[in-house]
């Protein structure tokens, strides 16, 4: 009885230790698009665009406009996707690489990035 009680306390102790780690892991998982947006060999969006609403979007470049209020600027999400897929289609002089047209990113990766950027 006594033995099982102490074992129970021990288990409880271990469970308490583990709990914060488990709980912390959940909200820390970023949306998949964010990793692609930040990855310098993938979207590398921070090279040119600030993201004022994202706390860890540090030291952004300034060659492109800040990414903010995107759903107001692009009422049609398809227009945002088209911009990322090939910005030269709507502006031949743009600085922005044609991420879809030149296969810098896959179609699926672009979808994930669009989902993330649209929420900014």
């Amino acid at each position: 009885m006594r033995k099982s009680f102490s074992a129970g306390v021990g288990l409880l102790f271990v469970a308490t230790l583990c709990a914060p780690a488990v709980l912390a892991a959940e909200p820390a998982k970023p949306p998949p698009g964010k990793g692609l947006v930040f990855d310098s060999s993938k979207g590398n969006c921070l090279a040119c665009h600030a993201m004022p609403t994202i706390a860890d979007a540090e030291q952004p470049g300034d060659s492109g406009p800040p990414l903010i209020a995107m759903n107001a600027r692009f009422p049609d999400i398809k227009a945002l996707r088209a911009k990322i897929w090939d910005a030269t289609a709507s502006n031949p002089d743009t600085f922005m690489p044609p991420f879809g047209k030149h296969k810098v990113l896959t179609e699926e990766e672009i979808d994930q990035i669009v989902d993330f950027v649209y929420g900014l």
Partner: protein
Amino acid sequence: MGYESATHSAGLLGEKEKMPRLVLAMAAFALAIGTAAAIAGPEEDRLKVVNYFKNKYADIKLDDYTYGALVFDPDARAHYDSIMEFPPFAAQLEKGKALWQTPFKNGKTYADCLPNGGRMIAGHYPMFDARQGRVVTFENILNACREANGEAPYAYDDMDTMGRLSAYARTLSDGMRVDIKVEGEAARQAFEDGKRTYYRRVGQLNFSCASCHIEAAGNRLRSERLSPVLGQATHWPVFRAGERLVTLQNRYVGCFRQVRQVPDEINSPRLNNLEYFHTYLSNGLPMKASVFRK
């Protein structure tokens, strides 16, 4: 040709009394076009770029473009100035000096072979050599000296030989103003070829040299300032991170790789013509070889 077509089109109007005046007007127009065509050329290309930067960055003195991207960032410039007091690459320059001074097997030296003993000449290169019908870089004439004196040429991408030799030899022209000439049709073609390379978008990322170094010059990519084309050709080689020797054409190769374009080889006609055009745009700016870069 211009005059003939002018009279011909005037004749089509069939108004005899108005013809002389019309012909005169059209001839004047053709003359104006001809004059414009005579002006359009390397010097017009250079002035267009100079004026672009004057308008965009009115506070920057033209000569200061020799400092590259540092002109946009006083803190980085101060850091540069302090490092240049005791450059960490001094030992490499000493090795370059030894390469420069060591006589060839026949007893001659580079100074014997080059115009003006090799001093205050780098600003004339790249030069279009009409006899060879091609652009000749400063590194080409160093190798030409070697070969003329019975020595094997250095590989252009070997930083321990050609890199160090060029790094020292170019310092002998510090303070010289860049003075590239484009004379004659063949030279003009080489210049135009370099210009096409400069403005053509390439690579998976679809950038031209001009995208970053004219249009976006002074902007930041993350925390890195994009250097301006003006003055960009005046300060090579550089020692990146203080020690890593990088020649101008090495840097071209790096740029092509960054935009994910397979680069041409160092000393290829394309890169030599690019250097010819690129350096011409810095005409009039002071040279300062072998400098620190991050």
